[in-house]
Symmetry: C2
Subunit: 218 residues, 2 copies
DNA sequence: GGCGTGATGTAATAACCGTTCACATGGAGT
DNA sequence: ACTCCATGTGAACGGTTATTACATCACGCC
């Protein structure tokens, strides 16, 4: 790995603790610490000072790698969107073996990510990061959305030309459903309120009804 | 008003500035300051110290009215849900003159609230407040949701018994759509990304397609 | 192999915030 | 008039962000 070459020879124990004057991989260590802190103490628990402590460096060291605390969170969120896009792509599988089923798989993958990676999801959608201040964050988010949009285009393509809805609109609709359910009901803490069904089933039913409304049958 | 009686006679200028040793209406002043701070500096700009400064009292004074900073935000969010429920009820109008049209009005009212009251909306949905720690907050949220649920029950009631979907599920679906669109596209800053149509139109189309999928025509 | 330099980490510091505590004030009721 | 207690004050503690001058060392260059 790239960073292995940069570590000091006396610091190759692999346990992540610092050995010499230089950490050798502080940037990665801080990102990892931020993820751990989100998971254990929530967004407000993510502290430059605490992340630095976890990495075994002084409180000022993180400023060599991130201009400020928010940029650290933005980088976590950016990576979250990268992983997110990968998961969605893996679920979509270019619409194979069957577009509607693959589309439902994308929806399930959306919620699965929110559940399996609550720390990333929190940084991505709940950290209040401005997309204008972090252009690369917006780009990563766009890449994830592109999967939804591509899938929508495929589904819409099977409809007769007249009355065919815009694929972009359909993608936005499905995104809003997925995000709405994830934000309201599929949070790490089990969601903001109790449900009579799983968030996954709720979303699947919602998408199914929506697709039926578009004339796309399962 | 109630609090007027509690103000000192020398403090009835009405400009909100403190005159004597006691403020007379600090609790309300803090809530107002919190709303202003959310609007001007965002959630992280809401500071007990800053709110106290705005009210012209010392930094320790707020603790006489709220156990901690989070409780102030929770109270703001609670009031937000109260107003929210009122707006939704006003839009629904018990389903008059026509249920589907009234239902769409509820959706528009949802987004209108997110736009017109970004400070409340932020406190309600983006402050990361635990509903378990603030029972009254949950109750206020439930009251707002009850409007959606009642509307859903009305719409579902017009369907034939066989295959009639659960009203609760339908209410959750519509809530997820509304919240998803509000969170993703109708934020105060104009939303996280550009849209080819207004958030209101996007939601109206989404609900329309969804209702068609349920067999409820416009 | 020796050297300089830029990247990386440290210590010290200033400003700010949440929170607590002992104490001060004065409005309300007796 | 007097007391009570809700409300506000000032000082203090520990923690956070961020900046600055200084320390260390890995690497490339000769």
């Amino acid at each position: 790995m790239e960073w292995d070459r940069r570590r000091r020879k006396s610091d190759d124990s692999g346990d992540g603790t610092r050995r010499g004057y230089h950490h050798g991989n502080l940037r990665e260590a801080l990102i990892g610490a931020a993820l751990d802190l989100i998971a254990s103490k929530g967004l407000s628990g993510v502290t430059f000072a605490e992340a630095a402590r976890a990495a075994g460096v002084s409180a000022a060291a993180p400023y060599r790698h991130f201009p400020d605390r928010e940029s650290l969170l933005a980088e976590v969120a950016r990576r979250g969107f990268e992983h997110f896009a990968e998961r969605l792509e893996a679920a979509w599988q270019d619409g194979r073996p069957e577009p509607v089923a693959a589309f439902n798989a994308v929806g399930r993958a959306y919620l699965a990510f929110a559940r399996a990676e609550p720390a990333y999801y929190t940084a991505m959608f709940e950290a209040g990061l401005s997309l204008d201040d972090h252009a690369d964050l917006r780009a990563a988010g766009d890449r994830a959305f592109a999967v939804l949009r591509g899938a929508a285009e495929r589904l819409v393509g099977d409809l007769p030309r007249e009355g065919r809805p815009p694929a972009l609109m359909m993608a936005l609709h499905v995104w809003s459903m997925s995000h709405g359910i994830a934000a309201l009901f599929a949070r790490a803490d089990g969601g903001r309120r109790r449900l009579p069904m799983s968030a996954e089933d709720l979303l699947e039913a919602e998408v199914l009804i929506y697709l039926r409304g578009l004339g796309i049958a399962a």
